[in-house]
């Protein structure tokens, strides 16, 4: 299936959704948006949904079809930008700091302050850190359990961090690269945390 076909499919789905939406829905949405105010970098325009966000909101109440999910995944994969210089790795120590840091993009964060990755909110990583969440799978021994940092694993992991929806439509995990949460350098550091044999994740 070409990208154009997928786009057409997604547009078709979005239009079908719009056809069901009456004036009351529009009024409700306007009242919803009017309930919020800009604060620091968290501006009201963030409430405008992308087509994917619309579909993924519906998915929770009326699950999307397999074709819809496939289309979302393909579109998401197409957003992934591999590192410009083919360099997947940075510094796992910096990656660990990012994994610990839950700041960034909240309405009480100063505008333009650096974002963390907050990986521990949802994942186990270094075994020494016991305050980890469980919304995502454990990533302890991430590379070790997957046969080491093979080229395939590098590419997959980069893409997963960049846009998680490429492999699981409507994933709970933020699209760290595609949504501009982490920079390329920061993703390189997170890659090292996950894949460097020296990283405590792989001890």
């Amino acid at each position: 299936m070409t990208r154009h076909t997928l786009t057409a499919m997604l547009l078709g789905l979005a239009c079908a959704g719009a056809a069901n939406a009456g004036p009351q829905d529009d009024a409700d949405l306007a009242a919803f948006k009017a309930s919020f105010r800009d604060k620091n970098g968290a501006t009201v325009d963030r409430l405008e949904q992308t087509e994917h966000q619309k579909l993924c909101s519906q998915d929770a109440l009326a699950p999307l079809s397999a074709a819809q999910r496939k289309a979302i995944e393909a579109e998401a994969l197409a957003t992934v930008r591999m590192p410009a210089d083919g360099k997947y790795f940075g510094d796992w120590k910096e990656g660990e700091k990012l994994a610990q840091n839950g700041r960034g993009m909240q309405s009480n964060d100063a505008k333009g302050s650096p974002n963390g990755g907050n990986c521990y909110a949802c994942h186990q990583l270094d075994k020494k850190e016991i305050a980890f969440g469980n919304i995502g799978p454990s990533l302890y021994q991430y590379a070790k359990l997957r046969g080491g940092a093979t080229p395939e694993l590098l590419k997959y992991t980069w893409s997963k961090v960049y846009n998680s929806h490429a492999f699981q439509a409507c994933s709970t995990m933020p699209r760290f690269g595609a949504a501009g949460i982490l920079t390329e350098k920061q993703i390189q550091d997170v890659m090292s945390l996950l894949l460097d044999p020296a990283s405590p994740v792989n001890h």
């Binding site: 968290a42 949904q49 929770a60 309405s107 919304i135």
Partner: protein, 266 residues
């Protein structure tokens, strides 16, 4: 350091390898230690005094305030809010209704009343926090029964449900991202599955709550706004329609729970 903070520190240290345990266990221990001594009770008492004090340009008390069960009836009122009010033509939660009474009965300017609803760290409770602590305390033991009779009440629930699942912003989060599955945690913090009656009851029944880490009573409006902040959404307006709709959604899910607030949280 506040005595309650010291107690919490003691509870945490006493566990030795406290880190290895769920934070929830430690908080449960802390709650047990305080038993009948929730610091929120002091703030409830402040609120009770404020309720009957003659204040504002009209030098009137709030004793004639209609919280939904008739003018002056505070007992059990919180357990049935948000609800539709004929006089405003709107579904209102406890905080919106309290502000309404401050404006209409006491003549306080609306903008003044809502200027700073929540105290900052280390500050004395705001009037709204104290009054809400008193109002919710008067519903202890009452069955949660957020009405779904009026068309506006049903519409509020429907909008609240939509808002709960609305994914947006740079992180693509909705309320449901964290609150629609059993057994999930952020770090060590347990996340209630608010789509299920049991967890919704427990959440609705124990907010507002004294938040130990902040040394303050936090209201349900505060709770909603702080969730939304972590969602990377813009700031949720105090007593905005979306905030009330979300509280309606939670309250209806929590039907038949028993109010036990102000609660005590980490």
């Amino acid at each position: 350091m506040r005595p309650d903070t010291l107690l919490l520190a003691a509870a945490l240290c006493a566990a030795g390898a406290a880190q290895a345990q769920s934070a929830a266990d430690e908080i449960a221990k802390y709650r047990a230690m305080l038993a009948d001594g929730n610091p929120a009770e002091l703030i409830e008492a402040q609120g009770e005094t404020l309720w009957s004090a003659k204040r504002g340009p009209k030098q009137a008390s709030l004793e004639a305030c209609d919280l939904g069960k008739g003018p002056g009836v505070v007992a059990g009122a919180y357990a049935e809010l948000p609800r539709f009010f004929k006089d405003t033509g709107k579904v209102m939660d406890a905080e919106a209704r309290l502000v309404h009474c401050m404006v209409t009965l006491q003549g306080i300017d609306r903008a003044d009343a809502v200027k700073k609803p929540f105290s900052d760290q280390g500050e004395r409770a705001t009037d709204i926090e104290a009054l809400i602590a008193y109002i919710v305390g008067a519903s202890r033991g009452a069955a949660i029964n957020v009405p779904q009779v009026h068309a506006e009440e049903k519409a509020s629930f429907a909008r609240g449900q939509k808002a709960f699942f609305y994914r947006a912003g740079p992180y693509d989060f909705s309320c449901a991202s964290c609150h629609s599955k059993d057994g999930q945690r952020i770090r060590l913090q347990d996340l209630p599955n608010l789509t299920q009656a049991a967890a919704a009851r427990s959440a609705f029944a124990t907010w507002p709550a004294y938040r130990v880490s902040q040394g303050a009573v936090r209201t349900m409006q505060w709770r909603m706004a702080d969730c939304v902040r972590q969602q990377r959404f813009p700031q949720l307006g105090f007593t905005s329609q979306a905030s009330i709709d979300l509280i309606t959604y939670l309250g209806v899910k929590a039907k038949d729970g028993k109010m036990d607030a102000p609660g005590l949280k980490r």
